[in-house]
Amino acid sequence: MITQTPLQTVELPITILNEIPLVQLPTYLSTSEAIALKATCQQMWEKQPVQIILDLSQTTSIDSSGIAALVSCLKTSEERGIKLFMWSVHPQVITALLLVGLKPSQIIDSETEAITLAGATQLKYQLPTSHRSLHSLVKRLTNTISALIGLGITALWRTSKNY
């Protein structure tokens, strides 16, 4: 006997200001959330807004269902003459969009960089593992060259002393 657990119903928060809808996407955009996204966009398309904004500021993880939903929403919006823009897209999500052939520059408002809640709450627990100077190439090169010069001077001095 096969039993199927129904997918959890997800509702995406929508904010409408000056007749422009802003949809907040969740941290993980996978199957349930992808279905909710398509349903939400369907709802908004019926109202024929000029544009729709997708807020991905808290979306740090996306799978193939999520990508497919975003692509589908983009294409359908374009067909209906509705502009769709994404805000605050995480670099990992941008990479995923690039992999499927989308051009982020055309669909992402570039000046919307945000701080993710997950990143912000991790601040307290991050301890430095090494001094910052260890990661500086200039400092490392300076140290190496200075050491070689010092060794060279020492070698010359010892040589001249022996003679």
Binding site: I53, W87, E111
Partner: protein
């Protein structure tokens, strides 16, 4: 009128300026904006901008404003708390070169626990604009603080 203020830090807060520009461009803000841009090297062309403001001038703008978008500086927060005008705080981030460390983010998270409006993204600004509210930024009462210090240091 919306007042945007970034304080007098030596680090620019161009990211907030960019958010304001995007909100204007997308139509979310359709009213007068006055910006105190401090050390920012950029501000939107559609605003009235001042690098620094005298105290009286700043107070007058606060009184004239419908709501205030501010960086999460301690001094500014005290001024906003006294104003009783709706405000939202946008913390500066070390990652974007906006401050020497992330103490503003830590402060913002602490204030958020007391329902003070905080914006980590431009989407948060839009959500605040639909329902602006004034919240007193009290983290701990004076009595509770004194008790904690007494318990800690005897």
């Amino acid at each position: 009128m919306i007042l945007v203020t970034v304080g007098t830090e030596k680090y620019p807060f161009n990211r907030l300026m960019s958010w304001i520009r995007v909100l204007i461009a997308r139509g979310f803000i359709q009213e007068e904006i006055v910006v105190q841009y401090g050390s920012c090297t950029y501000y939107p062309s559609e605003v009235s901008a001042y690098s620094l403001l005298a105290h009286d001038q700043f107070q007058e703008l606060i009184q004239r404003s419908r709501l205030i978008i501010s960086h999460c500086g301690e001094g500014t927060i005290l001024l906003l708390a006294a104003s009783r005008k709706p405000y939202i705080l946008v913390p500066r981030s070390q990652r974007f070169g906006e401050h020497v460390d992330d103490h503003q983010i830590e402060l913002a998270l602490a204030l958020a626990q007391n329902r003070v409006p905080i914006a980590l993204s431009p989407g948060d600004l839009v959500r605040f604009l639909t329902l602006p509210q004034w919240v007193c930024p009290t983290i701990v009462s004076t009595v509770a603080l004194c008790q904690r210090l007494q318990n800690r240091f005897g």
